[in-house]
Amino acid sequence: MWVLIAVAVAVLYFWYAAIVTRRNRVAEALAGIGVQLNLRHDLIPNLLAAARRFMEHETMLFESVTALRTAATNQPAGTAARFAAENELEAGLGRLMAVAENYPALKSDGSMIEAQRGMVEAETNIAAARRFYNSAVGDLRNATQIFPGSLLAGLAGAATPSPFFEAPAEAVAPVDAARLLR
């Protein structure tokens, strides 16, 4: 009888430890996204400086990107508001890149190529950090939603399931090819 109780306690303890480990992994992944987003923020001034020399008439666009960056920076890290602001900023950068396509001299400019390469790397790392986060959230959810994890989740500080990262609506919206080719 005592052996069975000891085994049950051991199983519960290890399950609890697994939940705490995975909860911390989610926090680590979230912090990783924050680090990568900050790196992107640091690259934006260089990108704008390189583009401004060729795109003098796009003042509104530059101001919009700058405002979006400031708005994103002002939000507390790891919050839904911060991620929404980052999505807005990402969309703004996408618009900037699309407009830059109309400036052939800009596309071949060395500092712009360098800035753009940095942005591509930053975006790759952000995407990787988000995949890591989603993977960590998936593991945590499995540990907390499968019995007896559901009993221990509250005790381990993981009662509220962390949300998965989802791509912004613009990224998953269907592309209207007819409109683009008109």
Binding site: M97, L106, R117, E121, A127, A128, A171
Partner: protein
Amino acid sequence: MTDTPSGTPSGGAADRRGLARTVLLAALGAGALVFLMVLAASVRQTPGVGGVLTGIVTGLFAGLLVAGAGAWGAMRLVARPAAVPDTAIGGELVQTLAQVLGEIEAMRIDMVRQATARARWRIPLCVVGVLLLWLVGRLGDDPGDFVDLLQLLAFGALVGWGWAEFAIRDQYRRLYRDRVLPLLAARFGAINYRQSTLPDLGKLTAEHVFGDCDSVVSENEFVGTHRGLPIDIVDLTLTKGSGDDVRQIFTGLLVTVELPRALRGTTAVIADGDMFSEARDWMTGNSRARVRIEDPEFEKAYQVYGTDQIAARALLTPAFIERFRALAALSWAGQPLALVADNRLTLAIPRIGHSLFEPPSFREPAASRAALATLYNDIVEVFATVDTVIDLDQAARGVAASHDAVPGAIAGSAPSSNR
């Protein structure tokens, strides 16, 4: 089977198939006949159950041997004739490298002369040696008969021939490679060929890309810059064990490319780990951790370990994974493995098929169109592999795979496939 363009078998192929069928049937009949003859002879020699059983076993063996030989002949008849290699490039190379090939040919003739001179006394010496051995054996308790003598003489002659020939053959292979391969490699850009120095496999072994090995053999190495990136390619054979218990744990290409981006930490894509590897890493203080990739097929075939979860995923994007798997689908390649340490991507690609960079035999003329074409095609194949490796990286970064070194096109701000 050779098909005509319309998809119907050609007349020649149909004839060969008919002949093959006849040969197969004749061989089966002959096999059955041999079986019956052996069985009858055995029963006649030893009447009773023992004779029948011996006859069945021996008859089956002899009959199957005859039938098997016929089946082999039939298959040879049906088999598609070997494709005639395109030696046009070989012809062009013979002309371009005429001076070097002329020098090699002069040395080859001298080497053949040396081998023949050696064979003149080494083969008889070995034959006499085994004859003496046989004579000494005759004085013992179990003297050898004349069949033993014939076998020993053949063996002695073979040893003498190898003694006379092998060292010179290796010398010629080295000479041919050292003189011809650098010239062929230079046709592919800023690439140099050299005799390989043994690569440092410490990191690859520590990260379990390769298992422990006892012997490393590497003969050929190409180094230089390809598509603007520093590359290094070596052919590699790793073996484990000694004596009769030697097994090959890897044979293929080790391709190293320095990537134009900094990836943090170390990421290893290995075939499989054992169930205790994570516990062992934890106990030895190894900071690597399992990286779970979202692709179930990839997870089934590989295990990924990394010291930085984000860097590992920044490398192993869906596009990278797709091309990595495509690499394994190449006709000559086995399942590739990878190690990325900082900005060095190393791919170990097992090779299936003929050995690479084999020069012609020193008994053949140096200016062999077919041999030169084969060597050239080997290098083409290797660089096609390197292109795939570079494309892997470009795919991971969302850069259009072009042969320009610098990704200059302005793309969308984020590779959407990564999400």
